[in-house]
Amino acid sequence: MEFAEFYGTERDRCLRAVLVVVGDRPLAEDLVAEAFTRAWTAWSKVRRHPAPRAWVVRTALNVRVSWWRRRKREVALGEADDVPVADADPGVDPRLLALLRGLPPRQREVIVFRVLLDLDTEQTARELGMARGTVTAHLSRAVAALRAQLVTEPGEGGS
């Protein structure tokens, strides 16, 4: 696969995954752009990765940590993770984003890699460094937590 094709097919998926973690659309876009830039410079290696899009997301999140550390040195921050999500992005329901970011970190990571990046259980387990059964368990719990918010029960809504 050529880089241009990879970027065209994976960029939105990677952005959504990163957005769920960082909760800030402009920041997510910057991080993903940076990660894709690094992927371009190391494309001969990245293209052989079993899941290049997972490489991009992992890189974006690592970049976020380094940016955050750098910023922390420059200005005193409180909880950098607590990015307001109310007006995070017009393209996504802020309540959904808040709900996802309210999940425990490991459940959220499983959602990101298993659902948004569409990796299988084996790949997700490898990316997150956990057992396959643990991936399934986290996913089940995350689904249970999301279900009430995302699934409209028969008879609800619409008039």
Binding site: Y7, D12, A33, T41, V92, I111, R114, D118, V143
Partner: protein
């Protein structure tokens, strides 16, 4: 994704709804920007790696040389050395003389780098901007070009056709216990001297506390009477070629 490993019968619907709810999130960064950024970064990295390799190679050679020689002795004449940065170059000739060139405009931005490079090459030097140092009890007298006695033996300035000033340093001629002090006038001081002198050079002792002042030397009398062009003398151009008696051909009527 295969969601059959989830026992919750609503799992597929939940996850589909999650995916659908994020359909509106799309990247706006064009591919061209990603590629252009990556290409520029790769180019910078190659240049930086090349420059670092050159400096490291020189540093390693010098380290071995210094180790093999007495502490006070300069590196052996035959040891190769080439350091090149955007601001200056340092080369050692076959006779052991160091040839240093630097860009007039960029020198001030990397004076510490030049200082470190010269020291690593075995030429003791101390560079300051806006202050002028001397050893205890030393004669503060400078010639009209800001040069103290003895400097000419270790340092010479020549000009190239490209406008660069080439300084030649001879570590073998440096008296024991001495180092070259170079003090460049800052902008305010240059406004007073009109660029003549643009710097002060003096041999000062090592290992003792120096006495420094921010009082710049007076304007060179050769500049008085409206002669010369103050704008041609910058801090990085302390001794323009031909500006010093030793650099001018005998009988050169030029005045600055």
């Amino acid at each position: 994704m295969n969601e059959h490993d989830l026992h919750d019968p609503d799992a597929p619907a939940v996850l589909d709804a999650l995916r659908d709810s994020m359909d509106g999130v799309t990247m706006s960064t064009p591919l061209e920007l990603i590629v252009a950024t990556g290409r520029a970064r790769r180019t910078r990295r190659r240049l930086a790696t090349g420059a670092t390799a050159v400096v490291v190679a020189g540093g390693v050679a010098l380290g071995l040389t210094t180790y093999a020689n007495p502490a006070a002795a300069p590196p052996a004449a035959g040891d190769a050395l080439h350091i090149q940065t955007v601001a200056y170059t340092v080369d050692r000739t076959a006779t052991g003389t160091l040839v240093v060139t630097w860009d007039k405009e960029r020198y001030a931005a990397d004076r510490t780098g030049l200082e470190a490079a010269l020291r690593a090459a075995g030429f003791p030097v101390l560079i300051r901007i806006g202050e002028f140092c001397a050893g205890p009890g030393e004669d503060p007298t400078l010639d009209p070009y800001g040069v103290a006695s003895g400097v000419g033996a270790v340092m010479r300035a020549d000009g190239g056709a490209d406008g660069r000033v080439t300084f030649t340093f001879d570590p073998a001629a440096m008296p024991a216990g001495k180092q070259l002090f170079i003090g460049y006038l800052n902008d305010a001081q240059l406004a007073v001297t009109g660029g003549a002198p643009g710097s002060v050079e003096r041999l000062v002792p090592t290992g003792v506390e120096l006495t420094c002042t921010t009082v710049a030397p007076p304007r060179s009398p050769r500049k008085s009477g409206g002669e010369g062009d103050a704008t041609t003398k910058r801090p990085a151009d302390p001794k323009a070629p031909g500006d010093r008696p030793s650099d001018r051909p005998t009988g050169d009527p030029k005045t600055k």
